[in-house]
Symmetry: C2
Subunit: 201 residues, 2 copies
Amino acid sequence: MNIVIDTRSRIIAAAKPRFHSRSYANVGIQEICESAGIQKGSFYHFFPSKRDLIVAVIEEFADEWANGFVAEAFDPALPPMERIDYLIDAAYFWQKSIKQVHGRMLGCIFGNLTLEVSTQDDILRAKLLAIFGRAKSRFMNTLDEAVAAGTIAPLDTSLTAEAMLAYLEGVILLAKSQNDPELLYRLGPAIKTLRVELTLS
Amino acid sequence: MNIVIDTRSRIIAAAKPRFHSRSYANVGIQEICESAGIQKGSFYHFFPSKRDLIVAVIEEFADEWANGFVAEAFDPALPPMERIDYLIDAAYFWQKSIKQVHGRMLGCIFGNLTLEVSTQDDILRAKLLAIFGRAKSRFMNTLDEAVAAGTIAPLDTSLTAEAMLAYLEGVILLAKSQNDPELLYRLGPAIKTLRVELTLS
DNA sequence: ATCCTAGTTGACCGATCGGTAAAATGCAAG
DNA sequence: CTTGCATTTTACCGATCGGTCAACTAGGAT
């Protein structure tokens, strides 16, 4: 059992940084096997297809993300709007540290994969959609709390949450085009100015 | 000369929708040649490499975009902030019409390519960066005008322009993950709430 | 001691990848 | 009529793609 998990997780560990730094189509099974020190037949013992691997990679990234700095950022002990500041800060420092190690701004793997595969594979699109849905919920709950506390004026928290998530992804995209995480630092805080007003119908 | 241009532009015409609807790595030269009704050797007479083709495709998209609805949207005759409304509207209707024809939300090819290739190819990244730079300038000029006219309170027009562009790309990304251009309709107008204040130093 | 099964290996599949080179074609200028 | 050049065709290159298969190994259970 230990060996099983070890091999499977070595595959995922080899795949994660590659899919993050390049693209789904540009990373081959063979390269992953070489990096993990296994044979291709062994890979297909654990994963029926390349798509099953990327699903596993997506899930690992999502878990590590949800239990890592995102959990810290959306700490209920923090004042609601400060959680958003914290999240932007964390995203900035994360991208910055990746660039220091890797030499490149890699951006958000969920955004990267969304734009690459979502016209070609509805199962992957659904996976990514679910992750964005959870992210939106975090924003929305935070906004609901902020409105309840009177920190901000009432607004459409559902749509504003989606707008904030979109803005974050967009800033990361633009920063990637400049290969410069500092854009996150300059543009990130403006996320709190976004507002979708309640419709009166 | 006519035939030359015709073949070359038939290649580009075959390539454009494919790169837009799938991805750079997922579209092969052979498929493009078949669609254009030519042989591979003929392709390489006009384009030294696949990258030269995608550069030409990017340029064609950029031209058609700059001379099409973007030029309409940023019409100096319109009140400045209405130009931004117009742009959002145009993006929405464009994505919607593509979906009606193609069955899919294809998103922005510049955003798509940025996330796919910008860690792997600095020349392509520079091309895309230049296009985003021009888009940012349009936003900034519009904001400058709006501030001068007193339509909006003074702000950092350079950073706010970048924030608006990022937001637009982010909304398109999220809409693509939902395969639903209606998100552009719901979230788009909030672009005008984005503000980066002037720093007092 | 035997059987079963999870794991692993290495050879192999047809298809496709981006790209090349030489020969054939067509056309225009001299 | 011939030369020269741009264009096009055809055949081909080595490499890699995702995926399969049969044989082999190693333990644990009976």
